[in-house]
Every structure is written in structure tokens, then in C-alpha cells.
């Protein structure tokens, strides 16, 4: 009886995953074919814009650098993201007065419609979302993780990736325009992707680089699971910040054959050979929850919080390029030089701390 029940549960689970897997590419393909309209959820963007005005953030003309944050697979909408991320983004924004950090793109939808937006299952997702503040470790939240994980797979799949990544690039572009970015301004853009958002950031970079018409474009992955994507060759530079105890980000080099050592002609290895990839170790951080890169409670032996270490290293990467005094034109920045600067700063800080 019990065995039968367990078998039934396993079969049910496999069927559920199969259905989710088969349905996964249909949203983006349907959008591309024109079957699904452009029902853009503007509420997130409008809320973000009014927030910008309310907090007297820099006016668009004063913004020298646009940063678009793509959350991990635990997000329901562009703004409904795991609870440890908003404080981090606020702190990042405070560190970068000349930049604007935009966080209203939902990277797991080609139309930027969050899971709780106008969707067939919207009400179901709303109920799951309501669980998170009460019980952040509820198993129900795995539903959204699995759903978004399949979208990451869509982004990484060579068959659907171009469609999906175009959709997200279009929404990133839309949100950049709404936040004051003007075509031809040549202002630099950085995409920051956490977890699955790292793959989507790299994937959409292929189209964004074309849309931005030569403006500097960089991608920063925060514990991202990134495939060997063409986007790596289309960005100025790709940074991967990772925790040594984060086995999820390490999956990228295991599950994506293009990242295997033997795949010398893959996009990953070509980008690596071109000096476009920099790996930055954060410390003994996990992927999510206690001990993660956003955790404010966990501290290193030297007394620094995980949160602060991540913030510092990420800020260093971003500041190196754009918020420094204008000693040189940012177009002429050499990624290798910048990497050396970041490394030098990190070393200096480590020396200070150890001293």
C-alpha cells in the first residue's frame, strides 16, 4: 500500500515535470509567433519610476551608467524577488551615486509579465507568493523555482534561446528607455544576473549588444548558472562572482557541454581565450539562505558579513569602469586592465584586513 502510494507520487511528479518541461518554451514561442500579445505589466515599472522620483535619485541625464538587475529563479515578478535581495540592491545603489540600479525586469518572461500578473495560473502564483513572507523555506516555493528553472533551460537551449533571449532583451531595452536611457547616448549598461538570471543576462546580451549600437555592455553573474552562450562573445566583459560552497553555480560547468574542458571551440572557451571572462571568488558562501552571498547574519572569520563582502567586490567591479573620476574615456577601458585593478583592490583590502 505504502509502496504503491510512493510509486504513484513518483509517477505523478515525473508527469508534472514532463508537462512543465513541454510547456516551458511555448510562452516565448507563442509570443514570437504573435499568438500571445504584448501584455506588458507596467505596474512594476511605474512603481519603480515613482520611487526614483520620491527618493530624488539622479535624473536620467545625470546617470552615467545603467545597471539592470535580473533576479534568480526564486522571483515571482520583477519586483517580487527573494527577501534578501532588495536590501542588497539598495546598498548597491547607495554605493553607486552616478549609476542607476534597475530591478523591475522579470527575466523569466519574454513579455515581462510576472507570475502573479495576468496569467492563467496568476491566482495560484499569488497564493504561493503569499506564503513566502510567512515561511520563506516552504516547499511550495519550489514550484516557482522549478517553473523558472525551465525558463533558464529555454534560454540556454540553442533552439529556443534566440527567441527567449530576444524577448528578455527587448524588455530590458524597454525598461532602460523608461528609466531615461536614450538610443545613441552610448552610456554603458551592465546586466547583473543572480543564479538563473546569470544565464538570461548572458543570453539577452547578444541582442542587447546590437540594440545598444556599440555602447559598452557588460554582464556580472552573481553565482549564476551560465551556459556556453553566444552572448559571452558579444559583451565587453563577463564577470562571475561565486562562493566556494555554492554547488549550484558550479552546475554550469557540469551540465553545459560547451563549458567542458574539451569543448575548445565553444563560445565559453572562445570568450575565455579572448580574455572576456573573469572569475572572482567571494569566499565560503552558499547559493541561497544562511551563508549565502546576500546573508547579513553570516560573518567571515575576519568579522566581515557575507553581505558586505559581496557588496564590496561587486561595487569594485562596477566602480572600476564607470564611477571613477574620468581619467580616461570609458570606451577605451581595457577589461584586462580593469580586472587587474579589481584584483589589486581586493588584494589591498585583504592585506589591510589581515594587517
Amino acid at each position: 500500500m505504502v509502496v504503491n502510494l510512493i510509486l504513484l507520487l513518483i509517477v505523478g511528479l515525473v508527469l508534472f515535470l514532463l508537462i512543465l518541461g513541454v510547456m516551458a518554451p511555448l510562452e516565448s514561442l507563442g509570443w514570437y509567433a504573435g499568438w500571445v500579445g504584448e501584455k506588458v505589466d507596467k505596474s512594476d515599472t511605474l512603481a519603480a519610476l515613482s520611487e526614483v522620483e520620491a527618493t530624488k535619485q539622479p535624473l536620467p541625464d545625470e546617470v552615467a551608467h545603467y545597471i539592470v538587475y535580473l533576479s534568480g529563479i526564486g522571483s515571482f515578478t520583477g519586483s517580487s524577488i527573494p527577501m534578501e535581495e532588495p536590501p542588497f540592491l539598495d546598498a548597491l545603489q547607495a554605493n553607486l551615486p552616478g549609476s542607476i540600479v534597475i530591478d523591475d525586469v522579470f527575466p523569466y518572461s519574454v513579455t515581462n509579465v510576472g507570475l502573479t500578473g495576468e496569467r492563467l495560473m496568476g491566482n495560484v502564483w499569488k497564493q504561493v507568493e503569499a506564503i513566502r513572507p510567512v515561511n520563506p523555506s516552504s516547499n511550495w516555493l519550489y514550484l516557482v523555482v522549478v517553473r523558472n528553472l525551465f525558463q533558464v533551460a529555454v534560454s540556454a537551449d540553442k533552439r529556443y534561446g534566440p527567441v527567449y533571449n530576444l524577448g528578455v532583451a527587448k524588455e530590458v531595452w524597454r525598461t532602460l528607455l523608461r528609466h531615461g536611457y536614450r538610443p545613441g547616448s552610448n552610456k554603458p549598461v551592465t546586466l547583473i544576473g543572480t543564479s538563473g538570471g546569470g544565464q538570461v543576462a548572458v543570453g539577452s546580451a547578444t541582442y542587447l549588444s546590437t540594440i545598444l549600437e556599440g555602447a559598452p555592455l557588460r554582464v556580472v553573474s552573481l553565482g549564476g548558472v551560465v551556459s556556453s552562450d553566444e552572448g559571452l562573445l558579444n559583451v565587453d566583459h563577463f564577470y562571475h562572482l561565486y562562493g566556494t560552497l555554492d554547488s549550484t553555480q558550479a552546475l554550469g560547468q557540469k551540465v553545459f557541454p560547451g563549458r567542458w574542458p574539451g569543448a575548445v571551440n565553444s563560445e565559453w572557451h572562445k570568450a575565455e581565450a579572448a580574455g572576456k571572462i573573469t572569475m572572482i571568488e567571494l569566499g565560503p558562501f552558499t547559493h541561497t539562505g544562511p551563508g549565502s552571498m546576500f546573508d547579513q547574519a553570516s560573518v567571515l572569520p575576519d568579522g566581515r558579513r557575507h553581505f558586505d563582502v559581496t557588496l564590496e567586490k561587486l561595487t569594485n567591479v562596477l566602480v572600476t569602469f564607470y564611477d571613477r573620476p574620468k581619467e580616461t574615456d570609458h570606451h577605451s577601458h581595457d577589461p584586462a586592465t580593469a580586472t587587474e585593478l579589481v584584483a589589486a583592490e581586493d588584494t589591498a583590502k585583504a592585506d589591510n584586513n589581515s594587517g
Binding site: L18, A24, A33, L166
Partner: protein
């Protein structure tokens, strides 16, 4: 009536999938199983098209044409199996001097489409292409078993017949098969608006530009109006 048909359809698919040789005996014996096995072939072809439908979406076919293309692909798949049946019957007769009635060969050959009923799973991102390979190998194994059933050959002889059949298909496809391919493409263009061999990259480039230009125009107009 329909329920009976669906029951027999399921029985044919399941028994072919588990390599039950009894299914070939039943199909050989009863002429009326033609419609059941034809159902397996059409269902397999239609399901496989869902799995490979990215080319239809990229070509922006309408939902109505999508359904039409499923039917077309089902029929095309059945015809390709019919050609297979002719070739294998011809080769088996030539090599082993065993005459298998053509109508029986066709009925049995349609059963090789049974694994393709799961062709829709090729849609699954990242795993889909591996699933496709598994289904193809599964179908090939059924073909080998069918050759073994029809001609009483051992595994090695069955492999030779199937291998020769494949070579013959390639040869015919690049010679006298060309007008047939052209006719197929014509039918696809006429009814669906695209062929399954369309250049996806070219279509991507064209439509990607359109979509981005559309967003830029919308947002800049909204901005200038505010």
C-alpha cells in the same frame, strides 16, 4: 466505436513499444488493423511535429495552420514509412528470397512510429534533443525486430537489411526523390506558409529587428508625449 478504436490504438502502441512480437502476428493476420496502425503512424508524425515545432513558431504560422501542419506531418510520416516498407520488402525479397505481401509489410512498418508518439517531448528544453535521439533508436530497434519477424533473419542480417534500406533511401532522396521533395515543400508552403527546412537564422534576424524597432518607437513616443 471511437473508444474501441482508441483502445486498439493504445494496444498497438504499447505492444510495439515493449517489443511484443505478438503484435506483428495480429497485425499480419487481420486486415482491418490497417486503420489502427495508420493511426499510430499519423499520431507519431503529428506528435513529432509538436516536438520540432520551433520552426513553425519562428515562421509565425497561425494556430489554424499549426494544426493543419500537424495533420500534414502525420500524413508525410506515414508516407515515409510506406516507402520504408517498400524498400525493406524489396531488399528482403532480393536477399532472402522471401515474399512478404506488401499490404502486410505496410501495416507492420507503421508500428515503427510508436515511439514517436512521445515526440512532443522533444519540446522539453535542453533534454529534448537527447529524447529525440532515444526515440529514433527505439524506432530503429522496432524496425530491426520487424525485419527479423518478416524474414526470420538473425540480428546481424536484420541490421544489414535496415542499413541497406537506409542507404537506398539516401540514394533515392538525392536522385529521383528530388521532385517529390519539391512537391512536399510546395504543399507545405501552400498550406502552412513555411517549410520545415526554413532558414531559422535568417528569420530570427528579420523578426528580431522588427520587434526591437517596435519597442523603441513605442517607448520613445510615450516619452515625448509625457
Amino acid at each position: 466505436m471511437i473508444l474501441d478504436y482508441l483502445y486498439y490504438l493504445w494496444q498497438a502502441i504499447w505492444n510495439a513499444l515493449i517489443f511484443n512480437p505478438r503484435v506483428y502476428e495480429v497485425v499480419s493476420e487481420y486486415q482491418q488493423t490497417f486503420w489502427v496502425t495508420l493511426g499510430v503512424a499519423i499520431l507519431g508524425g503529428a506528435s513529432l511535429l509538436i516536438g520540432q515545432s520551433v520552426v513553425l513558431f519562428v515562421n509565425q504560422v497561425t494556430p489554424a495552420r499549426f494544426i493543419l501542419s500537424m495533420v500534414l506531418n502525420g500524413l508525410q510520416f506515414a508516407i515515409s514509412l510506406l516507402v520504408w516498407a517498400v524498400l525493406l520488402t524489396f531488399l528482403g525479397g532480393l536477399i532472402f528470397d522471401i515474399e512478404v505481401p506488401f499490404r502486410i509489410a505496410i501495416r507492420i512498418m507503421f508500428l515503427t512510429a510508436a515511439p514517436m508518439v512521445f515526440g512532443f517531448m522533444v519540446l522539453i528544453p535542453y533534454l529534448g534533443l537527447t529524447i529525440q535521439k532515444i526515440l529514433q533508436v527505439w524506432s530503429l530497434l522496432i524496425t530491426i525486430q520487424i525485419v527479423n519477424f518478416e524474414f526470420g533473419t538473425n540480428l546481424f542480417q536484420s541490421l544489414i537489411v535496415v542499413g541497406l534500406g537506409w542507404l537506398l533511401t539516401v540514394l533515392l532522396g538525392s536522385t529521383i526523390g528530388r521532385p517529390i521533395t519539391a512537391l512536399r515543400d510546395f504543399i507545405w508552403r501552400k498550406f502552412v506558409g513555411a517549410t520545415l527546412d526554413a532558414d531559422i537564422q535568417e528569420v530570427y534576424q528579420r523578426i528580431a529587428r522588427q520587434k526591437v524597432d517596435q519597442v523603441t518607437q513605442q517607448e520613445l513616443e510615450a516619452h515625448s508625449g509625457s
